[in-house]
Symmetry: C2
Subunit: 220 residues, 2 copies
């Protein structure tokens, strides 16, 4: 089956204290989003790439695409008001049955081998969602204080989350709600059982200047 | 008030697939535990250092202490069957009222500034436990599948956890139970309210060869 990836780069990056959103900042002289695209290129040189970019950042992207080699042909969808709306816009550009991965542009550390594992599991099970174990003690914070909670039943969810196109298309008919923090939670609501697979421990989401610095050392 | 730190190096390191436990493996040509000790030395050159080491690893430690400079004078307590028992053995070597930090030997990435923050907060509140926010979606795994849970009330707990000696001594009168996954949960059981403070995002616990590799690049 054909592979598609929707790379979501809609975030405004306000937490970084920079005017350029974090997905467009450079790690080792290359924008984060280019590192991310390259990982999918190494997985499948024929993957259908859809980039979701806010209209307000289009000029930044145009500049990047002139200065750096983009290894894959791609289409651009316009970012929406929330991640839900961004992914939905990207999904409208998928025209045929395929395995559709949805990935955060700000996760450039994903390993190509892990991408391959997730797509393969999704082909077998209809969907695959990468998770990593919780390695610290977990406390629940309440108004009255905090209390320890059992971590052994908890797992942390990452991206790329991969689904059959038909599964995702059906899930995105559900209207937007703030409770859908990722695609898995939306697909789950549509009645499909989520298939968890092993993620990468260091597939971190770059949200702070410190993350950018650490990611540079890890990629280095 | 005087500062004490109990560095717990009792683990057997079986998950690493090595015979030498992870706290004794080298990062950038220096054992993990030496990196960890140095961080506390830079915080307070007069800190009372207690190392908890399993009797089975005593010869490894003796070799390390001959080959590397240990910047602090220290005492050694014998590791117990569980972390609870190890800390309790360490605590027996504390002779006077002080602020007692308990830290995992396998967390060499803790920043000196963060150590200082935690001890200062503990001086003001009687205890201080470092936490970092959960940055991923969280799923709860059940026999019937998994479901998304709200992460905004959850926080991940790290070390060093710092307590007034009297608080800790009283808590460790409670008999061992497997539910005490860290010192904060034991102290909480003794009736003391836990004071959460900001931890270091990259104060990771080294439990796999990959962690060792990543920690090397971050420290590098």
């Amino acid at each position: 089956m054909k592979n598609t990836v929707i790379i979501v780069a809609g975030g405004s990056g306000t937490r970084m204290g920079t005017s350029v959103p974090k997905q467009f900042l450079e790690i080792n002289n290359k924008p984060v989003i280019i590192h991310t695209i390259e990982k999918f290129y190494f997985f499948d040189r024929n993957i259908h790439l859809i980039l979701v970019i806010s209209s307000g950042h289009r000029s930044i992207w145009d500049q990047i695409s002139r200065n750096f080699s983009i290894p894959l042909r791609y289409e651009i969808a316009i970012g929406g008001q929330t991640r839900y709306h961004s992914v939905k816009n990207g999904l409208n550009l998928v025209k045929e049955e395929s395995l559709v991965g949805i990935h955060d542009a700000v996760r450039p550390l994903i390993r190509t081998e892990t991408i391959a594992d997730i797509y393969r599991e999704a082909a077998n099970h209809g969907n695959a969602v990468p998770c990593v174990p919780v390695r610290e003690s977990v406390r629940e914070i309440k108004l009255s204080g905090s209390r320890i909670i059992d971590r052994k039943d908890l797992t942390l969810v990452q991206t790329p989350q991969v689904f059959l196109y038909t599964v995702l298309k059906k899930a995105y008919k559900i209207p937007y709600s703030a409770e859908f923090t990722d695609d898995a939670s939306l697909v789950e609501r549509s009645g499909v059982k989520i298939h968890l697979v092993q993620g990468d421990l260091y597939n971190i989401k770059i949200t702070s200047p410190e993350d950018l610095e650490i990611a540079g050392r890890i990629l280095g």
